[in-house]
Symmetry: C2
Subunit: 271 residues, 2 copies
């Protein structure tokens, strides 16, 4: 991969990277489209990164569909798929980890110990191997975006982090590979995340500014859903993931599936 | 720096990096010579990295002599000096750290908590900015070499780590910028490190293979020195820095100055 990247660079071509864990959906394809518009060469990496899953999380059952992924990417006009094997990424004896203090510690970081260290480490490796000018991430994983921005900036990786809006189903549910886990009744309950974000956005638009009141709006809607169990619901700064701020972030268990979503309350809720 | 590195790479030139903290001596110049033989372009970085010094260590008094450094490098035929400011390397809010488990935890890592995390972080940043094909380190800092090898390999940085032999004074003392701290009586005591390594090498050459016996040889010579206080003296594996192995490593306080040295017992001791 590095040899190919160096050849592209030597030929003066810009490189865009879309890092994914496969099980691609329209959200990923939106990132690919952004990348294709802005770079001469586009690489999509597909790697279900074991070290960003905690013990008891869904690493084993995380959806994998390489044929469908290849089919989707075949129509997308990209230049390469980088699909390293786990034994190549983390060979026996590998011992180096990248961590970000502060932004990686609360919310997703607290709920999933080690998750962001796994993300920061794999992103550093992917950036080193692909040498991108720009890398593309979805707003859906907003805290991941904040962590990756710190890594890229703090380690002088020379990669611009580009963020594309969350893609949603018609009923508001944010696209996620994990939506495939949902039973029909759970799928209906899962709209509670976007519904809660929409209600908080409307409250903000009506002039509500008190953080606790906005959080209460989020919680009330989520807790009204019998199948939902709230992990967190807060309004935070999008760079530090601490209050005060205008980014509403929610994490909710729907049965055995944990879903996240977020929205900047100062912006209209789409749809 | 990254823009210059990308131009050199685009022109098909190989890049060698010699990372230093300045206060250059013949040991550094030996690394520079190696780099100049093997690369089209050679960059020497000079950065006294604050995060690899612990509280109470010698960050403030670490020797700095930019004029002398520039003079030495002016005669060395290098292409660039990279001398970033501390506020550029670690701006307000910087929060990302690189750490290596295992090899960074014992000996120097135990004596200097946080030291190797600082080394691993700054080396990742320097490699990202300079984009070297090869980077040059001295055998004198053997555990640092082991840590940096892991970082470069584990993070896919595409940098070959090259190691040059320790350069010694006529009486055996390994060159180090910290030798400048030594008072005349301390300077005489400081030869005990290389003398101990020589004695252990001779014991090994005579057939001594018992790790404890070899360690005893090291300790006996060091403890015979009134001004010396042994921090550690062990015989370890050069990749893991755990026993068993053939690399004798010593750290000794001479007054307020902490010196380190090492030698592979299977090789003749120089001089």
């Amino acid at each position: 991969m590095l040899a190919a990247a160096r050849r592209w660079r030597a030929a003066g071509k810009t490189i865009g990277l879309v890092p994914t864990m496969g099980a691609l959906h329209a959200g990923h394809l939106s990132l690919v489209e952004h990348a294709c518009r802005e770079n001469a060469v586009v690489v999509v990496s597909i790697f279900v990164n074991p070290i960003q899953f905690g013990p008891g999380e869904d690493f084993e059952r995380y959806p994998r569909d390489p044929k469908h992924d290849a089919q989707l990417l075949g129509q997308a006009g990209i230049d390469a798929i980088y699909r390293p094997a786990a034994g190549v990424m983390y060979p026996m004896g590998a011992a180096t980890r990248v961590r970000v203090v502060g932004v990686s510690e609360r919310l997703e970081g607290a709920a999933r110990p080690g998750h962001f260290e796994g993300v920061a480490t794999v992103v550093t490796k992917l950036f080193a191997a692909v040498q991108p000018d720009r890398a593309y991430f979805g707003q859906k994983d907003a805290q991941q975006v904040a962590v990756v921005r710190r890594v890229a900036g703090d380690l002088d990786l020379g990669v611009e982090i580009r963020v594309a809006p969350t893609i949603r189903e018609a009923d508001g549910l944010a696209l996620s590979s994990r939506n495939a886990y949902l039973e029909p009744a759970e799928r209906r309950s899962a709209t509670s995340l976007s519904a809660a974000l929409r209600l908080a956005t409307e409250a903000y638009a009506r002039g509500e500014r008190h953080p606790q009141a906005l959080t209460d709006v989020l919680r009330a809607r989520l807790e009204a859903e019998p199948l939902a169990r709230v992990d967190y619901a807060e309004v935070v700064d999008p760079a530090t993931f601490r209050p005060p701020g205008l980014l509403a972030v929610v994490a909710v268990w729907i049965g055995k599936t944990r879903l996240i979503d977020n929205h900047d309350l100062s912006q209209p809720f789409p749809g």
